[in-house]
């Protein structure tokens, strides 16, 4: 269980953030200020959150876990996060491409929250899927 969870944390949750980490590193190397606004204002973190949520849904669908309420809670939450992230990203990218001014710091904060919630739901999905695998 711990091994699976660690694998998920390293290869899904942490490595998914690597492009953003490199972006932050580049900003730091160019002596620009590394802020949440500068990093996440275009909604890149929302894409990572969507990928995490989709992975969690996949884990849950493929599992044979028998707790129906927990499955609904986690699967439903992941779907909501996925939809919320996708809709917000499409909105932000449309505004960015059409050069319409928008509140960048608000988008950055929302992105962080959506990522955190996606992480929580996906972690729950992985835990439940692992219980289902072990019960087989």
């Amino acid at each position: 269980m711990f091994e699976t969870f660690l694998k998920w944390v390293i290869f899904r949750a942490v490595l998914g953030l690597l492009p953003l980490a490199f972006s932050a590193f580049r900003m730091w190397a160019e002596h620009r200020s590394v802020t949440l606004e500068a990093l996440f204002s275009r909604g890149e973190l929302l894409l990572v959150a969507c990928a995490l949520s989709a992975g969690g849904i996949g884990e849950l669908m493929a599992s044979s876990a028998k707790q129906p309420i927990l499955r609904l809670l986690l699967g439903g939450g992941s779907v909501v996060c996925l939809m919320f992230g996708a809709l917000t990203y499409s909105h932000v990218s449309a505004q960015f491409s059409s050069s319409v001014p928008y509140d960048q710091s608000f988008v950055a904060v929302v992105s962080c929250f959506v990522y955190a919630f996606s992480l929580a739901f996906a972690a729950g999905c992985v835990i439940l899927a692992e219980i289902g695998k072990k019960k087989l």
Partner: protein, 94 residues
């Protein structure tokens, strides 16, 4: 207005996420405890109630076996007595 709606949605989603994650951790802890105590069968974790039911079934089977042995013993004793009577012998004393 839109920002307020998004904040409300985020708050709801946050509560939901915390509850769901906590519930899954609790489920895992229960599962790990059941696994550690060795009460996992091939079909999955069994509850205390299921354990008691299985024990009751085993006891019922054992008492059935004892009862059938008693009936068989009585039948053999009857046959022995009949054989003795026919042969004109006294039945052996216990």
């Amino acid at each position: 207005m839109t920002e307020t709606a998004i904040i409300v949605a985020l708050v709801v989603l946050g509560i939901w996420a915390v509850v769901a994650l906590a519930a899954s951790i609790v489920a895992y802890r229960r599962f790990a405890r059941a696994e550690a105590s060795g009460s996992l069968s091939a079909g999955g974790a069994i509850t205390r109630r299921e354990q008691i039911e299985q024990l009751a079934k085993a006891v019922a089977k054992a008492s059935e076996a004892v009862e059938s042995l008693r009936v068989e013993q009585e039948r053999l004793e009857r046959l022995e007595r009949e054989a003795m009577r026919r042969g004109g012998l006294e039945p052996a004393k216990a």
